[in-house]
Structures are given as C-alpha cells and as structure tokens.
C-alpha cells in the first residue's frame, strides 16, 4: 500500500512539469496579441515604445528561451508579474485562492450532505415519491447552468424576499478580519467578530448552495446505486436477523459499505469545483481564482493565465492524490494487502 502511494508521489513532479508546459504553450497558440494589454492604444504605432515593452516583458525572445526563463523563475517560486495588476501573480493568487477554497469547501458540505442523504433516501424508498423527487433534484442540479440557477436564486432570495445578501463575500461596510487562513468565516471567528462571521456566512450560503447543487446530483445518484446494491446483500439480512434497527442497518451496515466509492466521487467533485467555480464566482462577484482567471483571459494577461492554470492543475492533482490515498485507507481489503 505504501508502495502505491510512493509511486504516486514520484509521479507528481512529472505531472506538474507537464501542466506547466501545457499552460505555457496554450498562451502561444492564442491569436491575441498580449501587447494590447501592455501598451496603450495610442502608443501602438510608436515603434520605440513597442520595442521597449517587448524587451521589458521578454516578448522579444524566442519561445524556448522564454520557457526556460519561466521555469527558472518558477523554481524560485516566482510566477511572474501580471500585465494588468503589475503585481506578482503568486501574490495575486495567494490573495484569491482562499476565497475560492472557502466557497468550494462550503459547496462540498452542501453537495455531500445533500447527495448522501438524498441518495440513501432514494435507495431506501425506491420508486416512491421521494425517489422521483431526488432524481429530479439531481437532474436539475447537474443540468441547470449555474448562471441560470445562480441568478434565479439570487433574484428570489436576495431581491424578492430579501432574506440573503446580494453578491460579494462581505458587506462593504464591514472591516476585513486579519487574514490568518484567508477564510473569512474562520478568520472572523478567530478574531472573535461575530458580526463579520454572520455576514460572511450569509454571503457564502447562496453561491455555496448553487455550486454544491451541481455536484450533489452525481453524488446522490452514485450513493443510490451503491446502496441498492449493498442493501440486497446477505450481510444486510444478517444485520436485521441480529435485531438491529432499520436505522442501524442502513447507516452502520449499508452506508458504510458504500463509503469507498462515495469518497472517491467526493474527492473528484472537489477537484472539479476548484477549477469549475468560474461561473459561480463571476455571478456572485466572488473575488476568487475563477473571477481572476476570467479577468486575466479577457485581457490576455499571459503570466496570470499561466499562473492560474498551474495552481488550478496543482490543486486538481493534490486533491486526486489525497482521494486515492483515502480510498486505500478506507478500504480494508486494499489496506491490508
């Protein structure tokens, strides 16, 4: 088992190099000219300014040269400077990443809870109204575009009912808590500021639900299928014959047996959300990686695009690795062999 994990760890650097290379190459196949992001439009006809800009940003060098320089900088932790913000891309991302992670964690809490509860209920009450309802909920979750469900729910709960705040992470009038984890909910609690905590939580609710809804469908369908399979196995009958209650039979015996595949799909959903939160972040003006990526792409801000791609890819890799390790740990049959 440790051999397997070791193999995965050894493969990591190569995968990272692959991601970096692809991220770098993607920028070279785009048609757009990054100079438009750097040089003001009136100055475009001034060859001196253009040449100076090219030299400043290294655009006058050949592709392999630029690639080697980028790799060299990356080794020392430097992701380059954004064309737009003129700040270090690493700094920008470090500021944006926690917002995305907070959103994704909250979304996963929604998605996992909904997915498991609905999946178990749908399997237990197969072909009943509950089952059909859960199926419909899953179908909407995974097929409704986020801009549709997000805007719709924003309209209902924020505009019409005024129960929840509008877009954003925090009321603009409230002070930001000192950044420790970058999660507003946690930082505000650490700072003992309940007002900020409550406001951050209310802001988080809707985008997290919208995002969680998209993955809850996949999870509930998988849990349902696995529960149906497990519930028909003889050890479930054995548990009933022992005198265990239905709750115990379903949760302790059956659900626990579906945890291994469920854990896997939860892990992959998490990885998917880190890179898939773009639309939700845009709709809810969430200052995370996704909206940063959108801004960067619009402006052809190459260093930012590459940086975001690398960090997103890395997050994906790490999540999948953790998922696979958990898979091994949770499965006695694999763990012990």
């Amino acid at each position: 088992m440790s051999r397997y994990i070791l193999r995965r760890l050894i493969a990591m650097p190569f995968l990272v190099l692959g991601i970096v290379t692809i991220a770098f190459l993607i920028t070279t196949v785009t048609k757009g000219d990054p100079l438009t992001a750097i040089v003001a439009e009136q100055q475009m006809n001034n060859p001196e300014v253009v040449a100076a800009a090219k030299a400043r940003w290294g655009l006058d060098r050949s592709l392999p040269e630029r690639y080697m320089i980028y790799l060299g900088n990356l080794m020392s932790g430097d992701l380059g400077t954004s064309f737009i913000t003129k700040r270090n891309v690493g700094t920008d991302i470090l500021y944006r990443l926690p917002a995305t992670l907070e959103l994704v964690f909250a979304a996963m809490i929604f998605g996992t809870t909904l997915g498991i509860v609905l999946g178990v209920l749908a399997a237990y009450f197969r072909n009943s109204l509950i089952d059909h309802g859960a199926r419909l909920f899953a179908l909407f979750g995974s097929s409704l575009p986020v801009f549709w469900s997000g805007l719709g729910l924003l309209f209902i709960f924020s505009v019409m009912l005024n129960w929840l705040p509008g877009p954003g992470r925090l009321d603009a009038r409230l002070p930001l808590p000192p950044g420790i984890t970058g999660f507003l909910t946690i930082d505000s609690l650490l700072a003992g500021n309940l007002t900020v905590f409550k406001d951050a939580l209310w802001h988080l609710l809707l985008p997290a639900f919208v995002l969680g809804w998209t993955v809850s469908g996949t999870i509930s369908r998988l849990v349902r299928a696995n529960m149906l399979d497990v519930m028909s196995r003889e050890f479930v009958l054995t548990a009933r014959a022992k005198g265990a209650s239905e709750f115990r039979v379903v949760i302790v015996h059956a659900l626990r047996n579906t945890m291994v595949p469920t854990l896997t799909v939860i892990g992959y959903s998490f990885a998917y959300l880190i890179t898939g939160a773009v639309l939700t972040e845009t709709i809810f003006s969430w200052p995370g990686m996704g909206s940063y990526a959108v801004e960067a792409a619009r402006a052809l801000d190459f260093p930012a695009i590459i940086g975001v791609t690398i960090v997103g890819g890395l997050a994906f890799l790490v999540t999948n690795l953790v998922t696979d390790i958990l898979y091994v740990v949770a499965n006695p049959r694999v763990r012990l062999s």
Partner: protein, 356 residues
C-alpha cells in the same frame, strides 16, 4: 457468561406441552408490478425445545421465504398471513420494535452464503460484539471479550487475533463458524439455519454441521435445518418437514419418513438420492419440473408429476392429514403401496443414523 445471559431471558411463560415454535397456515404473497402470487401457501409445522427439524424441498419451494416471514424479515412487497407462535407468543403482526427484541436474542437465523453474510468493512469481532450489545447491557470491552469466547466456542483457533480481522481474511468455513458464533451470541432458544453448508465444499460441510450439532446439544437449542440434502436430514434431524411449492406435504420423524414415506413426492425425493457406492448418477428422478408459482395447477400441486394421481387429485387440494403423530397431504396417504426405494436410499446414505 451464563450469569449475564440468564438475565436476558425473557419472562415469557413457557407452557408445558406447547412447542417452541408453532406455525399454522403461514402464507406469503408477493405483489409484483400489479400481479400477485403466493410463494408460501400454508405452512404448518412445529419445533419442540431442543429438537432438530429438517426442512427439505426443491429450489423455489418457499423454504427460505417461509422462515424469513416467520421472523418478519420478508421484503416490503410481501404480504404475510397465518400464525407463527413462539413460546405461545404470536409473531405475525407484532410491531417491528418488539420483533427486534426477539430476533437475534430468542430466535437467531443464519444464511446460505457465508461469503456475503458478514459485513466486509467491519471486523469479525466487532460484528459479533454488535450482536451481543444489541440485546445485552454490557460495555464495548465486555462484548468484545464475549466475541472472543464465542469464536473459541465454534473452534476458531487464535480467537483474539481472529476477532480483529476482517471477513476477507477468513476462509469460507471459518466465516460460517463466525456467523454461527454470532447467531448464538445471546444464547437463543431457536436457531434457523438456511442451507448453512450449501456454499461450502464437502469436508467443510461436515465440520460446520458438527459445530452446529454440538452447539445445539450443549445449549439445548431448537434447530431448524433448511437443506436440499436428504443425507444431511438423515444424519442430523429428529424430524423432517417436506415442502412442495409453498406447502408442507409431509411431516414425520426421520426414521418414519425414510422407512415409510407417505407422500409420493417424498418417495421421489428419497429414491433420487444419489447412490454413492455405484455411481454419481441419480437412481431416479421425479419427472417434470415444479410448477411456476403464478400458475399452479388446480387440485394437488404435485398431481402433474405424480405417478399415483387420479381424477380426485386434479380437483381437490388435499389437506395435511394427521396419521397419528405424523402428517401427509396426499389423498392416498394411507393407501399408497409399500415403498421399496428406502433400502436402496438407506444404503447410499453414509450414516447409520437411520436406525435409531
């Protein structure tokens, strides 16, 4: 252990003369996509305290469904009617909460497939300890100690180590031992074993049956042994109930049944026991196949396959007649010609247990 166990015994009055388990007219119907059919069409049988009752019958005859229904374990689409009395206490229609107090405590049941009878993600010890804790007020630690004792009781070597292992680390025979240990964890009065050895190879089968029998004798269990194998019945049961398409068609002591079967179906079964000495081939087999449950023939369900069938058999379904302590559901139970297959069959059964 006995000090703890005796406190669990329910105070249900044990009336003298009343059998441990008494099933009368048990019927189980299944609703399936609008249609309805009966898998069990009226089972009558008794199990006395400390007695071994064998139940034999072809696949699909309703042996499992009947016993599951007695314990309230049939699926949600099943309709169960009739009467199942355990120590005088009616079980059919009993609230689920009260059935749970009986299941695993007073009546235990084990199933055919030891490979899937245990939860793959729980250690064997934890599963046995769970059975203990479901019915006894003991600590986790005490329950675990009891689990180790129980593994020892069913002759599993190194029980402490084994208790902390997962089912996939056990062989098939060991798993079935563990399942048996779990079943007797609360010192039940009745154990229903549904084909406990069918999935195991022959040498292991004998060991498991020996374990079951020794436990049954030591703990004074009533044992219901469901099987396809008349050899098992001959070797281990006191009495036999023969089931055909959802009904008990004959019930008698083992020696009576083999010496003088009073139902043509029983005769066919006995005559078709493979003869070990001559060849593996069956000496005889009953012509035809058991009827599909949805479309039973009128009259006696066995008549299309019966060599003694007459007009009456096509019209009237014979009731289970009392022939003086033994029962048969055949119109000609008392007038059937003498049976000659018995000596042949007896010769092929390894055991000499036919002669009491």
């Amino acid at each position: 252990m006995s000090a703890q166990l005796s406190s669990v015994r329910s105070g249900a009055a044990e009336m003298p003369g009343e059998p441990l388990l008494s099933i009368r007219g048990l019927r189980v119907g299944f609703r399936k996509a609008g249609s309805q059919f009966e898998a069990v069409r009226g089972i009558d049988l008794d199990v006395a305290k400390g007695e071994v009752l064998g139940i034999v019958g072809e696949s699909g005859s309703g042996k499992s469904v009947g016993m599951l229904a007695a314990l309230g374990l049939t699926s949600k689409n099943a309709v169960v009617t009739g009467s199942v009395r355990f120590k005088g206490d009616e079980l059919v229609g009993k609230p689920a909460r009260e059935m749970r107090k009986i299941r695993g405590a007073r009546i235990a049941m084990i199933f055919q497939d030891p490979l899937s009878s245990l939860n793959p993600v729980m250690t064997v010890g934890a599963q046995i300890a769970e059975a203990v804790r479901l019915h006894q007020r003991v600590t986790r630690k005490q329950a675990m100690a009891r689990a180790v004792d129980l593994l020892n009781l069913v002759s599993i070597p190194q029980p402490e180590r084994r208790a902390s292992q997962y089912p996939h680390e056990f062989s098939g025979g060991m798993r079935q031992r563990a399942v048996i240990a779990m079943a007797v964890a609360n010192d039940p009065d009745l154990l229903i074993a549904d084909e406990p050895t069918t999935a195991l190879d022959v040498t292991v089968q004998a060991q498991i049956l020996a374990v079951l029998r020794s436990l049954q004798e030591r703990l004074g269990l009533g044992l219901v042994l469901i099987t396809h194998d008349l050899g098992v019945v001959a070797g281990h049961a006191d009495r036999v109930a023969v089931v055909y398409s959802g009904r008990v068609v004959e019930q008698a002591t083992v020696s009576e049944l083999f010496a003088d079967p009073r139902h043509p179906y029983t005769r066919g079964l006995i005559a078709s026991i493979p003869n070990l000495e001559e060849s593996r081939e069956r000496l005889f087999s009953i012509d035809g196949a058991p009827p599909a449950l949805g479309s039973l023939p009128g009259g006696c369900a066995f008549h299309p396959r019966c060599i003694h069938a007459e007009a009456r058999c096509r019209e009237q379904d014979p009731p289970l007649l009392d022939l003086g302590g033994r029962f048969s559901a055949c119109h000609f139970a008392t007038t059937l010609p003498p049976f000659h297959g018995a000596s042949l069959a007896a010769a092929s059964l390894e055991t000499g247990s036919l002669t009491p």
